[in-house]
Protein backbone atom coordinates (compact mmCIF):
# COMPACT_ATOMS: atom_id res chain seq x y z
CA UNK A 1 0.00 0.00 0.00
CA UNK A 2 2.89 2.35 0.78
CA UNK A 3 4.30 1.48 -2.63
CA UNK A 4 0.98 2.17 -4.37
CA UNK A 5 0.85 5.58 -2.71
CA UNK A 6 4.47 6.30 -3.61
CA UNK A 7 3.70 5.60 -7.26
CA UNK A 8 0.46 7.55 -7.11
CA UNK A 9 2.09 10.70 -5.70
CA UNK A 10 4.85 10.49 -8.29
CA UNK A 11 2.42 10.03 -11.16
CA UNK A 12 0.24 12.87 -9.90
CA UNK A 13 3.29 15.09 -9.76
CA UNK A 14 4.06 14.19 -13.36
CA UNK A 15 0.47 15.02 -14.32
CA UNK A 16 0.88 18.45 -12.75
CA UNK A 17 4.31 19.13 -14.21
CA UNK A 18 3.20 18.02 -17.67
CA UNK A 19 0.45 20.59 -17.41
CA UNK A 20 -2.06 17.89 -18.31
CA UNK A 21 -3.97 18.66 -15.15
CA UNK A 22 -4.11 22.35 -16.00
CA UNK A 23 -4.98 21.66 -19.63
CA UNK A 24 -7.76 19.24 -18.74
CA UNK A 25 -9.25 21.49 -16.09
CA UNK A 26 -8.99 24.55 -18.31
CA UNK A 27 -10.51 22.77 -21.30
CA UNK A 28 -13.51 21.45 -19.39
CA UNK A 29 -14.01 24.79 -17.57
CA UNK A 30 -13.93 26.92 -20.69
CA UNK A 31 -16.40 24.72 -22.55
CA UNK A 32 -18.71 24.29 -19.57
CA UNK A 33 -18.80 28.02 -18.88
CA UNK A 34 -19.34 28.86 -22.54
CA UNK A 35 -22.23 26.40 -22.79
CA UNK A 36 -23.82 27.78 -19.65
CA UNK A 37 -23.54 31.34 -20.89
CA UNK A 38 -24.98 30.49 -24.28
CA UNK A 39 -27.77 28.56 -22.53
CA UNK A 40 -28.68 31.74 -20.66
CA UNK A 41 -30.15 33.17 -23.86
CA UNK A 42 -32.62 30.37 -24.63
CA UNK A 43 -33.48 28.52 -21.42
CA UNK A 44 -36.72 30.45 -21.07
CA UNK A 45 -38.10 28.95 -24.28
CA UNK A 46 -38.14 25.39 -22.88
CA UNK A 47 -39.64 26.39 -19.56
CA UNK A 48 -36.79 24.98 -17.46
CA UNK A 49 -34.06 26.65 -15.44
CA UNK A 50 -30.66 27.59 -16.84
CA UNK A 51 -28.70 24.84 -15.10
CA UNK A 52 -30.99 22.16 -16.52
CA UNK A 53 -30.25 23.32 -20.03
CA UNK A 54 -26.61 23.71 -19.16
CA UNK A 55 -26.32 20.18 -17.74
CA UNK A 56 -27.90 18.80 -20.90
CA UNK A 57 -25.41 20.54 -23.16
CA UNK A 58 -22.54 19.75 -20.81
CA UNK A 59 -23.51 16.08 -21.01
CA UNK A 60 -23.11 16.18 -24.77
CA UNK A 61 -19.78 17.88 -24.24
CA UNK A 62 -18.64 15.40 -21.60
CA UNK A 63 -19.38 12.46 -23.87
CA UNK A 64 -16.66 13.69 -26.24
CA UNK A 65 -14.29 15.60 -24.02
CA UNK A 66 -14.03 13.41 -20.91
CA UNK A 67 -12.86 10.29 -22.80
CA UNK A 68 -10.36 12.46 -24.67
CA UNK A 69 -8.97 14.02 -21.52
CA UNK A 70 -8.79 10.62 -19.80
CA UNK A 71 -6.94 9.02 -22.70
CA UNK A 72 -4.53 11.96 -22.89
CA UNK A 73 -3.68 11.48 -19.23
CA UNK A 74 -3.10 7.75 -19.45
CA UNK A 75 -1.91 6.71 -22.91
CA UNK A 76 1.74 7.63 -22.34
CA UNK A 77 2.35 6.00 -19.02
CA UNK A 78 3.37 2.39 -19.73
CA UNK A 79 4.79 2.82 -23.24
CA UNK A 80 6.71 5.90 -22.08
CA UNK A 81 8.24 4.13 -19.09
CA UNK A 82 9.20 1.22 -21.31
CA UNK A 83 10.78 3.54 -23.87
CA UNK A 84 12.86 5.25 -21.19
CA UNK A 85 13.94 1.92 -19.72
CA UNK A 86 12.61 2.88 -16.31
CA UNK A 87 9.78 0.34 -16.54
CA UNK A 88 12.30 -2.52 -16.58
CA UNK A 89 14.05 -0.93 -13.64
CA UNK A 90 10.90 -0.40 -11.57
CA UNK A 91 9.85 -3.99 -12.18
CA UNK A 92 13.08 -5.24 -10.59
CA UNK A 93 11.92 -3.61 -7.35
CA UNK A 94 9.67 -5.57 -5.01
CA UNK A 95 6.51 -4.03 -6.45
CA UNK A 96 3.88 -5.98 -8.36
CA UNK A 97 2.48 -4.94 -11.70
CA UNK A 98 -0.94 -4.66 -10.05
CA UNK A 99 0.42 -2.20 -7.50
CA UNK A 100 2.09 -0.22 -10.26
CA UNK A 101 -1.15 -0.03 -12.21
CA UNK A 102 -3.16 0.81 -9.08
CA UNK A 103 -0.81 3.68 -8.25
CA UNK A 104 -1.04 5.13 -11.72
CA UNK A 105 -4.82 4.76 -11.75
CA UNK A 106 -5.17 6.49 -8.41
CA UNK A 107 -3.16 9.46 -9.70
CA UNK A 108 -4.92 9.75 -13.05
CA UNK A 109 -8.35 9.32 -11.48
CA UNK A 110 -7.59 12.11 -9.01
CA UNK A 111 -6.49 14.37 -11.83
CA UNK A 112 -9.60 13.66 -13.83
CA UNK A 113 -11.87 14.15 -10.84
CA UNK A 114 -10.32 17.54 -10.15
CA UNK A 115 -10.80 18.59 -13.78
CA UNK A 116 -14.44 17.41 -13.90
CA UNK A 117 -15.47 18.91 -10.57
CA UNK A 118 -13.74 22.20 -11.27
CA UNK A 119 -15.04 22.55 -14.82
CA UNK A 120 -18.64 21.52 -14.27
CA UNK A 121 -18.70 23.02 -10.79
CA UNK A 122 -17.75 26.44 -12.15
CA UNK A 123 -20.57 26.17 -14.67
CA UNK A 124 -22.97 25.32 -11.85
CA UNK A 125 -21.82 28.33 -9.85
CA UNK A 126 -22.26 30.56 -12.87
CA UNK A 127 -25.79 29.30 -13.42
CA UNK A 128 -26.55 29.84 -9.75
CA UNK A 129 -25.16 33.38 -9.91
CA UNK A 130 -27.36 34.09 -12.91
CA UNK A 131 -30.31 32.85 -10.88
CA UNK A 132 -31.06 29.80 -13.04
CA UNK A 133 -30.39 26.90 -10.68
CA UNK A 134 -32.54 24.89 -8.33
CA UNK A 135 -32.43 21.78 -6.19
CA UNK A 136 -33.36 19.45 -9.03
CA UNK A 137 -30.87 20.86 -11.49
CA UNK A 138 -28.13 20.88 -8.85
CA UNK A 139 -28.76 17.16 -8.37
CA UNK A 140 -28.61 16.66 -12.11
CA UNK A 141 -25.25 18.41 -12.14
CA UNK A 142 -23.93 16.15 -9.36
CA UNK A 143 -25.16 13.19 -11.34
CA UNK A 144 -23.35 14.42 -14.42
CA UNK A 145 -20.15 14.83 -12.42
CA UNK A 146 -20.39 11.31 -11.06
CA UNK A 147 -21.14 9.89 -14.50
CA UNK A 148 -18.29 11.85 -16.06
CA UNK A 149 -15.79 10.60 -13.48
CA UNK A 150 -16.93 7.01 -14.07
CA UNK A 151 -16.71 7.47 -17.82
CA UNK A 152 -13.29 9.02 -17.43
CA UNK A 153 -12.01 6.15 -15.28
CA UNK A 154 -13.15 3.70 -17.94
CA UNK A 155 -11.14 5.56 -20.56
CA UNK A 156 -8.12 5.93 -18.27
CA UNK A 157 -8.11 2.14 -18.02
CA UNK A 158 -8.57 1.80 -21.79
CA UNK A 159 -5.61 4.15 -22.18
CA UNK A 160 -3.51 1.69 -20.16
CA UNK A 161 -4.61 -1.17 -22.38
CA UNK A 162 -3.53 0.79 -25.46
CA UNK A 163 -0.28 1.83 -23.79
CA UNK A 164 0.57 -1.71 -22.68
CA UNK A 165 0.10 -3.01 -26.21
CA UNK A 166 2.06 -0.20 -27.89
CA UNK A 167 5.74 -0.54 -28.69
CA UNK A 168 6.35 3.19 -28.48
CA UNK A 169 4.77 6.37 -27.19
CA UNK A 170 4.00 7.43 -30.75
CA UNK A 171 2.13 4.18 -31.37
CA UNK A 172 0.26 4.61 -28.10
CA UNK A 173 -0.81 8.11 -29.12
CA UNK A 174 -2.10 6.79 -32.42
CA UNK A 175 -3.86 3.92 -30.67
CA UNK A 176 -5.51 6.24 -28.16
CA UNK A 177 -6.77 8.50 -30.96
CA UNK A 178 -8.11 5.49 -32.81
CA UNK A 179 -9.92 4.13 -29.76
CA UNK A 180 -11.47 7.53 -29.09
CA UNK A 181 -12.64 7.82 -32.67
CA UNK A 182 -14.16 4.35 -32.70
CA UNK A 183 -15.84 4.33 -29.29
CA UNK A 184 -16.98 7.93 -29.14
CA UNK A 185 -17.64 8.95 -32.72
CA UNK A 186 -17.96 6.01 -35.11
CA UNK A 187 -19.98 3.84 -32.71
CA UNK A 188 -22.75 6.42 -32.61
CA UNK A 189 -22.63 7.00 -36.35
CA UNK A 190 -22.97 3.30 -37.07
CA UNK A 191 -25.86 3.00 -34.61
CA UNK A 192 -27.54 5.97 -36.17
CA UNK A 193 -27.18 4.47 -39.63
CA UNK A 194 -28.64 1.17 -38.39
CA UNK A 195 -31.59 2.88 -36.78
CA UNK A 196 -32.38 4.79 -39.95
CA UNK A 197 -31.99 1.66 -42.06
CA UNK A 198 -34.18 -0.33 -39.65
CA UNK A 199 -36.84 2.35 -39.85
CA UNK A 200 -38.58 1.78 -36.53
CA UNK A 201 -38.32 -2.04 -36.60
CA UNK A 202 -37.35 -4.50 -33.89
CA UNK A 203 -33.77 -3.33 -33.85
CA UNK A 204 -34.66 0.26 -33.11
CA UNK A 205 -37.16 -0.61 -30.40
CA UNK A 206 -35.55 -3.62 -28.69
CA UNK A 207 -31.85 -3.90 -29.51
CA UNK A 208 -30.74 -0.35 -30.04
CA UNK A 209 -31.20 0.91 -26.47
CA UNK A 210 -29.08 -1.96 -25.10
CA UNK A 211 -26.33 -1.50 -27.65
CA UNK A 212 -26.40 2.19 -26.83
CA UNK A 213 -26.06 1.53 -23.10
CA UNK A 214 -23.21 -0.91 -23.71
CA UNK A 215 -21.00 1.94 -24.85
CA UNK A 216 -19.75 3.87 -21.81
CA UNK A 217 -19.92 7.23 -23.57
CA UNK A 218 -23.55 6.70 -24.55
CA UNK A 219 -24.24 5.29 -21.12
CA UNK A 220 -23.33 8.70 -19.75
CA UNK A 221 -25.98 10.29 -21.96
CA UNK A 222 -28.56 7.82 -20.75
CA UNK A 223 -27.44 8.16 -17.15
CA UNK A 224 -27.74 11.90 -17.25
CA UNK A 225 -31.13 11.71 -18.96
CA UNK A 226 -32.86 9.17 -16.78
CA UNK A 227 -32.45 11.55 -13.88
CA UNK A 228 -35.48 13.57 -14.69
CA UNK A 229 -38.20 14.12 -17.20
CA UNK A 230 -36.87 17.60 -17.68
CA UNK A 231 -33.50 16.30 -18.80
CA UNK A 232 -35.15 13.87 -21.15
CA UNK A 233 -37.10 16.72 -22.62
CA UNK A 234 -33.98 18.78 -23.30
CA UNK A 235 -31.77 16.05 -24.68
CA UNK A 236 -34.33 14.08 -26.62
CA UNK A 237 -32.88 10.80 -25.35
CA UNK A 238 -36.08 9.89 -23.56
CA UNK A 239 -37.24 7.24 -26.02
CA UNK A 240 -34.22 5.00 -25.62
CA UNK A 241 -34.05 5.57 -21.91
CA UNK A 242 -37.68 4.57 -21.49
CA UNK A 243 -37.08 1.05 -22.84
CA UNK A 244 -34.25 0.26 -20.42
CA UNK A 245 -34.47 -0.54 -16.72
CA UNK A 246 -33.32 2.42 -14.64
CA UNK A 247 -30.09 0.75 -13.52
CA UNK A 248 -28.75 -0.03 -17.00
CA UNK A 249 -26.77 3.12 -17.67
CA UNK A 250 -25.22 3.24 -14.21
CA UNK A 251 -24.35 -0.45 -14.43
CA UNK A 252 -22.59 0.15 -17.75
CA UNK A 253 -20.68 3.10 -16.28
CA UNK A 254 -19.63 0.99 -13.29
CA UNK A 255 -18.70 -2.13 -15.24
CA UNK A 256 -16.49 -0.41 -17.80
CA UNK A 257 -13.80 0.88 -15.43
CA UNK A 258 -13.56 -2.53 -13.76
CA UNK A 259 -13.45 -4.34 -17.09
CA UNK A 260 -10.94 -1.82 -18.42
CA UNK A 261 -8.63 -2.26 -15.46
CA UNK A 262 -8.80 -6.05 -15.72
CA UNK A 263 -7.97 -5.83 -19.40
CA UNK A 264 -5.14 -3.41 -18.63
CA UNK A 265 -3.76 -5.81 -16.04
CA UNK A 266 -3.79 -8.67 -18.54
CA UNK A 267 -2.21 -6.54 -21.27
CA UNK A 268 0.41 -5.26 -18.84
CA UNK A 269 1.25 -8.79 -17.70
CA UNK A 270 2.00 -9.77 -21.29
CA UNK A 271 4.31 -6.84 -21.79
CA UNK A 272 8.03 -7.58 -21.76
CA UNK A 273 9.74 -4.37 -20.64
Amino acid sequence: MIRVLAIATTEFRILRRNRWLLTATGLLSVFALALTLSGATNSGALGVDLLTVSVASMTTLAVYLVPLVALLMSFETIAGDAERGSLALVLTYPVSRSALLAGKFLAHLSGLTIAVITGFGLAGLLAFALGGAGMASALALARLMLGAVLLGSAFIAIGYVVSAFSGSVAAAAGGAGFVWLVLVVLYDLVLLALVIWDDGGVFSRQVFPWVLAANPADALRLFSVTASAEQALVTGMGAAAAVLPRWTALASLLIWPVLGLLLARVAFARRVP
Binding site: R3, T10, P94
Partner: protein, 300 residues
Protein backbone atom coordinates in the same frame (compact mmCIF):
# COMPACT_ATOMS: atom_id res chain seq x y z
CA UNK B 1 26.69 -21.83 3.55
CA UNK B 2 28.80 -18.68 3.56
CA UNK B 3 30.03 -19.59 0.13
CA UNK B 4 26.63 -19.94 -1.45
CA UNK B 5 26.69 -17.84 -4.62
CA UNK B 6 24.55 -14.70 -4.70
CA UNK B 7 23.79 -15.49 -8.31
CA UNK B 8 23.40 -19.04 -9.52
CA UNK B 9 22.19 -19.31 -13.09
CA UNK B 10 22.28 -22.75 -14.68
CA UNK B 11 21.59 -23.66 -18.30
CA UNK B 12 19.80 -20.43 -19.09
CA UNK B 13 18.29 -20.40 -22.56
CA UNK B 14 16.21 -17.75 -24.24
CA UNK B 15 15.89 -17.75 -28.01
CA UNK B 16 14.39 -15.00 -30.12
CA UNK B 17 12.81 -15.47 -33.48
CA UNK B 18 15.70 -14.89 -35.88
CA UNK B 19 18.26 -14.09 -33.18
CA UNK B 20 20.20 -16.27 -30.78
CA UNK B 21 19.50 -14.51 -27.47
CA UNK B 22 21.31 -16.69 -24.92
CA UNK B 23 21.91 -20.44 -25.14
CA UNK B 24 22.65 -22.74 -22.22
CA UNK B 25 24.46 -20.08 -20.22
CA UNK B 26 25.56 -20.75 -16.66
CA UNK B 27 27.00 -18.10 -14.38
CA UNK B 28 27.85 -18.10 -10.69
CA UNK B 29 28.70 -14.96 -8.77
CA UNK B 30 29.80 -14.93 -5.14
CA UNK B 31 29.43 -12.23 -2.54
CA UNK B 32 31.86 -9.39 -3.05
CA UNK B 33 32.98 -10.66 -6.44
CA UNK B 34 33.21 -8.36 -9.45
CA UNK B 35 32.55 -10.12 -12.72
CA UNK B 36 32.98 -8.48 -16.10
CA UNK B 37 30.59 -9.64 -18.79
CA UNK B 38 32.12 -9.10 -22.22
CA UNK B 39 31.02 -9.83 -25.74
CA UNK B 40 30.31 -8.22 -29.09
CA UNK B 41 27.25 -6.12 -29.76
CA UNK B 42 24.35 -8.52 -29.79
CA UNK B 43 26.27 -11.27 -27.99
CA UNK B 44 23.51 -11.55 -25.39
CA UNK B 45 24.81 -9.60 -22.40
CA UNK B 46 21.67 -7.54 -21.87
CA UNK B 47 19.50 -10.54 -22.60
CA UNK B 48 21.30 -12.56 -19.93
CA UNK B 49 20.78 -9.80 -17.36
CA UNK B 50 17.10 -9.40 -18.16
CA UNK B 51 16.59 -13.14 -17.97
CA UNK B 52 18.30 -13.27 -14.59
CA UNK B 53 16.11 -10.42 -13.36
CA UNK B 54 12.93 -12.13 -14.48
CA UNK B 55 12.15 -9.33 -16.90
CA UNK B 56 12.37 -11.66 -19.85
CA UNK B 57 10.65 -15.04 -19.79
CA UNK B 58 13.18 -17.84 -20.25
CA UNK B 59 12.79 -20.98 -22.32
CA UNK B 60 14.74 -23.20 -19.92
CA UNK B 61 17.22 -23.10 -17.11
CA UNK B 62 17.13 -22.10 -13.47
CA UNK B 63 18.12 -18.93 -11.68
CA UNK B 64 18.43 -18.24 -8.02
CA UNK B 65 19.46 -14.98 -6.43
CA UNK B 66 20.83 -15.22 -2.90
CA UNK B 67 19.25 -18.66 -2.73
CA UNK B 68 15.82 -17.37 -3.72
CA UNK B 69 14.20 -18.64 -6.91
CA UNK B 70 13.64 -16.32 -9.86
CA UNK B 71 10.61 -14.06 -9.64
CA UNK B 72 10.04 -14.18 -5.90
CA UNK B 73 9.78 -10.99 -3.89
CA UNK B 74 12.81 -12.05 -1.83
CA UNK B 75 14.86 -12.39 -5.01
CA UNK B 76 13.79 -8.94 -6.13
CA UNK B 77 14.71 -7.44 -2.78
CA UNK B 78 18.19 -8.96 -3.08
CA UNK B 79 18.98 -7.68 -6.57
CA UNK B 80 19.75 -4.27 -8.03
CA UNK B 81 19.88 -3.35 -11.68
CA UNK B 82 21.19 -0.58 -13.85
CA UNK B 83 19.60 -0.89 -17.30
CA UNK B 84 21.47 -0.05 -20.47
CA UNK B 85 21.06 3.65 -21.34
CA UNK B 86 18.41 4.20 -18.70
CA UNK B 87 16.42 7.39 -18.54
CA UNK B 88 13.78 8.68 -16.18
CA UNK B 89 10.71 10.85 -16.48
CA UNK B 90 12.01 14.30 -17.47
CA UNK B 91 9.42 16.11 -15.36
CA UNK B 92 10.69 14.71 -12.05
CA UNK B 93 13.70 15.94 -10.12
CA UNK B 94 16.56 13.64 -9.23
CA UNK B 95 15.56 13.74 -5.59
CA UNK B 96 11.93 12.85 -6.32
CA UNK B 97 13.05 9.95 -8.49
CA UNK B 98 15.48 8.48 -5.95
CA UNK B 99 12.91 8.90 -3.18
CA UNK B 100 10.38 6.97 -5.22
CA UNK B 101 12.88 4.15 -5.63
CA UNK B 102 13.66 4.29 -1.91
CA UNK B 103 9.98 3.86 -1.06
CA UNK B 104 9.66 1.03 -3.56
CA UNK B 105 12.71 -0.64 -2.05
CA UNK B 106 11.24 -0.16 1.41
CA UNK B 107 14.11 1.93 2.78
CA UNK B 108 14.17 5.41 4.30
CA UNK B 109 13.90 8.27 1.82
CA UNK B 110 16.87 9.87 3.60
CA UNK B 111 19.04 7.03 2.28
CA UNK B 112 18.17 8.18 -1.22
CA UNK B 113 19.27 11.74 -0.51
CA UNK B 114 22.57 10.49 0.88
CA UNK B 115 23.15 8.38 -2.22
CA UNK B 116 22.66 11.40 -4.48
CA UNK B 117 25.49 13.01 -2.60
CA UNK B 118 27.69 9.92 -3.02
CA UNK B 119 27.31 9.99 -6.79
CA UNK B 120 27.94 13.72 -6.96
CA UNK B 121 24.42 14.83 -7.75
CA UNK B 122 23.82 16.82 -4.57
CA UNK B 123 23.80 20.15 -6.40
CA UNK B 124 21.52 18.95 -9.16
CA UNK B 125 19.18 16.98 -6.90
CA UNK B 126 16.35 19.48 -7.13
CA UNK B 127 16.59 20.08 -10.85
CA UNK B 128 14.39 18.27 -13.33
CA UNK B 129 15.89 15.15 -14.86
CA UNK B 130 14.98 16.60 -18.26
CA UNK B 131 17.79 19.11 -17.76
CA UNK B 132 20.39 16.46 -16.81
CA UNK B 133 23.28 15.47 -19.04
CA UNK B 134 23.67 11.84 -20.04
CA UNK B 135 26.34 11.31 -17.43
CA UNK B 136 24.12 12.78 -14.72
CA UNK B 137 21.28 10.43 -15.63
CA UNK B 138 23.74 7.55 -15.51
CA UNK B 139 24.83 8.65 -12.03
CA UNK B 140 21.24 8.81 -10.90
CA UNK B 141 20.77 5.30 -12.22
CA UNK B 142 23.88 4.22 -10.34
CA UNK B 143 22.65 5.84 -7.12
CA UNK B 144 19.53 3.69 -7.03
CA UNK B 145 21.65 0.53 -7.32
CA UNK B 146 22.84 1.12 -3.75
CA UNK B 147 19.36 1.33 -2.23
CA UNK B 148 18.70 -1.34 0.33
CA UNK B 149 22.20 -2.90 0.19
CA UNK B 150 21.62 -5.48 -2.55
CA UNK B 151 23.31 -8.89 -2.49
CA UNK B 152 23.69 -8.81 -6.27
CA UNK B 153 24.01 -5.87 -8.67
CA UNK B 154 23.69 -6.20 -12.44
CA UNK B 155 25.11 -3.18 -14.25
CA UNK B 156 24.54 -2.98 -17.99
CA UNK B 157 27.24 -0.77 -19.51
CA UNK B 158 27.46 1.54 -16.51
CA UNK B 159 30.28 3.68 -17.90
CA UNK B 160 28.93 4.32 -21.38
CA UNK B 161 28.78 8.04 -22.00
CA UNK B 162 30.81 8.99 -18.95
CA UNK B 163 33.88 11.21 -19.03
CA UNK B 164 37.19 9.74 -17.73
CA UNK B 165 36.84 11.27 -14.27
CA UNK B 166 33.26 10.10 -13.97
CA UNK B 167 34.32 6.60 -15.00
CA UNK B 168 36.94 6.63 -12.31
CA UNK B 169 34.35 7.73 -9.74
CA UNK B 170 31.93 5.09 -10.93
CA UNK B 171 34.45 2.29 -10.54
CA UNK B 172 35.21 3.59 -7.07
CA UNK B 173 31.48 3.25 -6.35
CA UNK B 174 31.46 -0.26 -7.77
CA UNK B 175 34.45 -1.17 -5.62
CA UNK B 176 32.71 0.11 -2.51
CA UNK B 177 29.64 -1.90 -3.47
CA UNK B 178 31.72 -5.06 -3.81
CA UNK B 179 33.65 -4.28 -0.64
CA UNK B 180 30.32 -4.23 1.16
CA UNK B 181 29.71 -7.80 0.05
CA UNK B 182 27.61 -7.25 -3.06
CA UNK B 183 28.31 -9.50 -6.02
CA UNK B 184 28.61 -7.24 -9.06
CA UNK B 185 28.20 -8.13 -12.72
CA UNK B 186 29.33 -5.43 -15.16
CA UNK B 187 28.55 -5.68 -18.84
CA UNK B 188 31.00 -3.50 -20.68
CA UNK B 189 32.91 -2.78 -23.86
CA UNK B 190 35.58 -0.75 -22.09
CA UNK B 191 38.28 -3.42 -21.83
CA UNK B 192 41.00 -1.29 -20.28
CA UNK B 193 38.76 -0.38 -17.35
CA UNK B 194 37.70 -3.94 -16.80
CA UNK B 195 41.27 -5.22 -16.56
CA UNK B 196 42.09 -3.54 -13.26
CA UNK B 197 38.65 -3.46 -11.80
CA UNK B 198 37.26 -6.95 -11.90
CA UNK B 199 38.04 -10.30 -10.37
CA UNK B 200 36.68 -12.49 -13.11
CA UNK B 201 35.82 -12.24 -16.76
CA UNK B 202 32.98 -13.95 -18.55
CA UNK B 203 32.77 -13.71 -22.31
CA UNK B 204 29.64 -14.32 -24.34
CA UNK B 205 29.73 -15.11 -28.02
CA UNK B 206 26.58 -15.57 -30.08
CA UNK B 207 24.65 -16.18 -26.89
CA UNK B 208 27.02 -18.80 -25.50
CA UNK B 209 29.49 -18.50 -22.65
CA UNK B 210 32.95 -19.09 -24.15
CA UNK B 211 35.06 -18.07 -21.18
CA UNK B 212 34.54 -17.61 -17.47
CA UNK B 213 37.65 -17.34 -15.29
CA UNK B 214 40.12 -14.89 -13.78
CA UNK B 215 42.16 -12.81 -16.14
CA UNK B 216 45.36 -14.67 -15.29
CA UNK B 217 43.81 -18.02 -15.94
CA UNK B 218 42.33 -16.87 -19.21
CA UNK B 219 45.72 -15.68 -20.42
CA UNK B 220 47.32 -18.96 -19.42
CA UNK B 221 44.60 -21.01 -21.05
CA UNK B 222 44.68 -19.07 -24.26
CA UNK B 223 48.47 -19.65 -24.47
CA UNK B 224 48.77 -16.48 -26.40
CA UNK B 225 52.18 -15.46 -27.70
CA UNK B 226 54.26 -12.80 -26.07
CA UNK B 227 56.09 -10.49 -28.44
CA UNK B 228 59.74 -9.61 -28.11
CA UNK B 229 61.02 -6.58 -29.95
CA UNK B 230 64.75 -6.28 -30.45
CA UNK B 231 66.50 -3.13 -31.61
CA UNK B 232 69.78 -3.62 -33.49
CA UNK B 233 72.75 -1.36 -33.02
CA UNK B 234 73.69 -1.28 -36.69
CA UNK B 235 71.95 -3.80 -38.88
CA UNK B 236 68.81 -5.77 -38.13
CA UNK B 237 69.46 -8.35 -40.83
CA UNK B 238 71.44 -10.64 -38.54
CA UNK B 239 68.74 -10.49 -35.90
CA UNK B 240 66.10 -11.19 -38.48
CA UNK B 241 68.00 -14.20 -39.78
CA UNK B 242 68.31 -15.51 -36.26
CA UNK B 243 64.80 -14.95 -34.84
CA UNK B 244 62.53 -14.48 -37.84
CA UNK B 245 59.32 -12.58 -37.12
CA UNK B 246 58.92 -9.27 -38.91
CA UNK B 247 61.10 -6.26 -39.42
CA UNK B 248 60.04 -2.85 -38.24
CA UNK B 249 61.54 0.25 -39.89
CA UNK B 250 64.94 -1.24 -40.65
CA UNK B 251 66.56 -1.37 -37.25
CA UNK B 252 64.04 -3.50 -35.30
CA UNK B 253 62.76 -7.05 -35.34
CA UNK B 254 59.68 -8.31 -33.54
CA UNK B 255 58.92 -11.99 -33.01
CA UNK B 256 56.43 -14.04 -31.05
CA UNK B 257 57.29 -16.54 -28.34
CA UNK B 258 55.20 -18.71 -26.06
CA UNK B 259 55.30 -18.31 -22.32
CA UNK B 260 57.63 -21.30 -21.76
CA UNK B 261 60.03 -20.25 -24.55
CA UNK B 262 60.23 -16.70 -23.29
CA UNK B 263 63.29 -16.92 -21.04
CA UNK B 264 65.31 -19.12 -23.39
CA UNK B 265 64.74 -16.76 -26.30
CA UNK B 266 65.58 -13.76 -24.18
CA UNK B 267 68.86 -15.42 -23.19
CA UNK B 268 69.64 -15.86 -26.87
CA UNK B 269 68.98 -12.21 -27.48
CA UNK B 270 71.26 -11.18 -24.67
CA UNK B 271 73.95 -13.60 -25.90
CA UNK B 272 74.15 -11.59 -29.11
CA UNK B 273 75.78 -8.93 -26.97
CA UNK B 274 76.91 -5.78 -28.72
CA UNK B 275 74.66 -6.25 -31.74
CA UNK B 276 71.61 -5.48 -29.62
CA UNK B 277 70.83 -1.93 -28.64
CA UNK B 278 67.61 -2.57 -26.74
CA UNK B 279 65.00 -5.24 -26.07
CA UNK B 280 61.32 -4.84 -25.26
CA UNK B 281 58.83 -7.43 -24.07
CA UNK B 282 55.26 -6.82 -25.18
CA UNK B 283 52.73 -8.94 -23.26
CA UNK B 284 49.48 -9.77 -24.98
CA UNK B 285 46.81 -7.27 -24.12
CA UNK B 286 43.31 -7.84 -22.87
CA UNK B 287 42.18 -6.84 -26.31
CA UNK B 288 44.14 -9.75 -27.81
CA UNK B 289 42.60 -12.01 -25.20
CA UNK B 290 39.13 -10.74 -25.93
CA UNK B 291 39.70 -11.22 -29.63
CA UNK B 292 41.00 -14.72 -28.97
CA UNK B 293 37.90 -15.85 -27.06
CA UNK B 294 35.14 -13.87 -28.72
CA UNK B 295 36.39 -14.63 -32.22
CA UNK B 296 37.35 -18.30 -31.80
CA UNK B 297 34.94 -19.74 -34.26
CA UNK B 298 35.72 -17.31 -37.02
CA UNK B 299 39.39 -18.30 -36.89
CA UNK B 300 38.84 -22.02 -36.71
Amino acid sequence: MADRPVLDAVGLTRQFAGAHGVRDVSLQVHAGERVALLGHNGAGKSTLMKAVLGLLPIDSGTVSIAGQPLGTVAARVAVAYLPEAVSFHPALTGREQIRLFARLAGVKTGDGDALLENVGLADAADRRIGTYSKGMRQRLGMAQVFLGKPMLALLDEPTSGLDPMARHDLYALIDSLAAGGTGVVIASHALTEIEARTDRIAILRHGQMVADASLKELFARAAMPIHIRVKAKHDAAALFDRFGGRRINGAQVEFAVTQDQKLARLAEVIAMGAQVADVEIIPSSLEDLYRHYSGQEERA
